[in-house]
């Protein structure tokens, strides 16, 4: 199962991603999900980014909206535009969920 999941919250939603088994998983940080890629807590980046075999993306509009620089976000995360998201949804993944 190839899933692309939009994560729009910072404090919740990620637990579901720990449970679902996938053959291919993409996580797109949008909305306040952006804080996963923009801040560290107690000097540590979000543990979600340690998840193996996942492609991480973050919406450029929402990165910049929250005061972060594209070049400053975690290097494991690819900044993407809405146009990129359309391509990911149609070409790379089969199911799309919003958390």
């Amino acid at each position: 199962m190839k899933i692309i999941s939009f994560l729009s919250h910072y404090r919740h939603g990620a637990d579901i991603l720990e449970r679902i088994k996938t053959t291919k998983l993409g996580i797109v940080f949008v909305g306040n999900g952006i804080y996963h890629v923009g801040v560290s807590e107690n000097g540590k980046p979000s543990p979600l980014l340690d998840k193996k075999d996942v492609s991480f993306y973050a919406l450029i509009d929402d990165i910049e909206t929250r005061g972060f620089k594209i070049e400053g976000i975690d290097k494991r995360v690819k900044p993407v535009s809405y146009e990129d998201l359309v391509d990911l949804i149609f070409n790379e993944y089969e199911k799309v969920i919003w958390l």
């Binding site: 899933i3 579901i16 449970r19 679902i20 199911k95 799309v96 919003w98 958390l99």
Partner: protein, 136 residues
């Protein structure tokens, strides 16, 4: 052609419309035929996972206090129209609940269908099998 859609309910009830809309969209599959070609059909499957299993508690009295249909009654209505309903066993146990605490049938309104309490692996299988997956 048949297409399966899973409505995965992970949200708590009442503070927001989220879980209720999940269930009412699933129930709407009963009248979708008017929009489809002959022979086409949608098979909805409703799954409660995570905090969402708390939608399934018995004895909800939302009608008494807010004059709104409770999630318990919405689940019974789903069973009445023969929707498949699955409730995650591990999440029920996590809250210290048993089958007796959870609405699994609606015999009093004439429903034959039973909501099944199943391991998450079963729900995983459903999510893999369906054509579209929606989280509420």
């Amino acid at each position: 052609m048949k297409k399966k859609i899973a409505f995965v309910i992970k949200s708590l009830p009442y503070n927001r419309e989220t879980s209720r809309l999940g269930l009412t969209h699933a129930i709407a599959s009963q009248s979708v035929d008017v929009y489809l070609d002959e022979g086409d059909m949608i098979e909805p499957v409703v799954c409660f996972i995570g905090d969402g299993v708390l939608n399934c508690l018995k004895d909800q009295q939302c009608m008494k206090h807010y004059n709104n249909t409770s999630m318990e009654t919405h689940i019974k209505n789903a069973l009445l129209v023969d929707l498949q309903v699955y409730i995650c066993k591990e999440d029920i146990e996590r809250f210290g609940l048993t089958k007796d605490d959870i609405v699994t049938d609606a015999q009093e309104i004439g429903a034959d269908k039973i909501a099944e309490i199943v391991p998450f692996d079963k729900i995983q299988g459903i999510m893999e099998e369906v054509d579209h997956l929606q989280f509420f």
